[in-house]
């Protein structure tokens, strides 16, 4: 039995197989419509994340399965002080697979170690959120046709953004990727990422302004500057509008550059960009569901 804790749990080859499956699901959804008949997914969300939870639930329903679970800690036995280990042992009796979200780092791993059903880490604090990374990779692979040979710009909060760190790690396994990190001085990529890139001889640049670099990008990954990452309101207000993508900046970009964003967006992408065919962040949500469908099938060994 396998779990998914970290996006690097799967080898590049295993990911290829997973992405092929996801793309086949996209093309032939009817073929998979009752693959999971009689199966249940438990979505155990100790903190609210409606988008992620709905994506898992829609994925299971599209596969003909059904859903049980809870959507925040208050409505679960956790509020009575039950441990993650005990909860997963109970859930294992009801469901066939579990997606767990928890504010504490390593919670899903604790669950996996005591579980008799596959556990998917649906986010454990600021640590890992592997299905977001798989979503990003599938989006790039589907729309670009490849996961190698490109220049990607990552823009916004690169210091605290777990999504970004995870994506950089995942992409570092593919050939000929050039990273451009676009962020204010205060929110630069952490040193351990830079060390990893240096060790692997992967080219990267760090720049301050999006305008200066947008023309050379094949992909632009925008992120939100989260209010909760800041100690004071002043810093937040000063930095949040630093990097807003609008029509004007998009004019300088390549014809086939793609704009990705893990959502929710605040105002870092102006709504006027939404109609641009290069803006694929809503398509990304759809790929998120396909990749979760493929993942559920894979972990339940129903492929």
């Amino acid at each position: 039995m396998r779990h998914l804790m970290n996006p690097l749990d799967f080898s590049v080859e295993e990911l290829d197989t997973l992405f092929e499956l996801a793309m086949d699901i996209e093309k032939n959804p009817e073929k998979y419509a009752d693959r999971c008949a009689g199966k249940k997914i438990a979505t155990c969300f100790y903190e609210a994340s409606t988008r992620t939870r709905l994506s898992f639930e829609a994925a299971m329903i599209n596969l003909g399965g059904s859903v049980i679970g809870f959507s925040d800690a208050n409505s679960s036995s956790a509020s009575k002080g039950e441990s993650v280990s005990d909860t997963i042992r109970v859930i294992s009796c009801f469901a066939d697979i579990c997606a767990m979200r928890h504010p504490k780092e390593g919670a899903a791993m604790v669950a996996a170690s005591r579980s008799s059903i596959p556990v998917i880490n649906a986010g454990d604090g600021g640590h890992q959120h592997p299905t977001q990374t798989l979503t990003d990779l599938l989006t790039i692979r589907s729309l670009k046709g490849r996961l190698n040979h490109f220049t990607i710009g990552l823009c916004g909060d690169l210091k605290f953004g777990r999504t970004v760190h995870s994506l950089i790690n995942a992409l570092s396994r593919y050939e000929d990727i050039h990273f451009i990190f676009i962020s204010p001085e205060e929110l630069r990529v952490p040193d351990y990422i830079i060390e990893m890139l240096k060790e692997k001889n992967i080219p990267y640049e760090e720049v301050i302004k999006l305008e200066d670099t947008i023309a050379q990008l094949d992909l632009l990954y925008m992120t939100r500057v989260q209010r909760e990452r800041f100690f004071n309101e002043e810093d937040y207000v000063r930095l949040k509008d630093f990097y807003i993508l609008d029509k004007k900046k998009m004019k300088a970009a390549k014809e086939d550059m793609l704009v990705l964003h893990p959502l929710p967006r605040v105002n870092e992408i102006s709504v006027e960009v939404d109609d641009d065919p290069r803006a694929v962040y809503f398509k990304q949500v759809q790929y998120g569901m396909y990749v979760r469908m493929a993942l559920i099938l894979t972990l339940l060994e129903l492929v």
């Binding site: 780092e105 390593g106 640590h127």
Partner: protein, 143 residues
């Protein structure tokens, strides 16, 4: 050098960094064992200038060498039997250590679920970096 009586069976831990012997004594939980222990502080050493030495009279299977290796793998371990050195053990960094150090990351699941064992794994042998198995936070002994 100060002469402390010979031991029949046990260990002589040599080349301990000067001043570290007492914390080693606690980490090895020697305070809980009913055995003779000699702590020699600031002994002269050609190699180190000053060093500490611990002599422990006990069953030779009693000591957790993994913990010792984690604390300082430059320590020389002499195994004593019938009053003679019968073996010198090399200390190898353990792959995993359980319940020796605690994760200090306030965001870690171990911070709210007290019954969980604190497990660290050797993430980088060269740099001697241990990380929490749950949250992957680096263990920093200085904190």
């Amino acid at each position: 050098m100060l002469n402390v009586g010979k031991i029949e069976e046990g260990f002589v831990l040599d080349h301990i960094e000067a001043g570290k012997s007492l914390s080693l004594y606690h980490h090895l939980q020697l305070d809980k064992l009913d055995c003779t222990v000699a702590i020699i502080k600031n002994a002269r050493s050609n190699k180190m200038g000053k060093k500490d030495i611990l002599k422990v009279e006990c069953d030779i299977n009693m000591l957790d060498l993994d913990i010792l290796a984690f604390i300082d793998h430059n320590i020389t371990v002499n195994v004593i039997k019938d009053g003679e050195i019968v073996d010198k053990r090399e200390l190898i960094l353990p792959r995993e250590i359980k319940n020796v150090i605690h994760c200090k990351n306030p965001r870690c699941i171990t911070s709210i679920e007290q019954e969980l064992p604190h497990i660290f794994f050797l993430a980088d042998e060269e740099k001697e970096i241990y990380r929490c198995k749950y949250c992957e936070e680096k263990y920093d002994s200085k904190k």
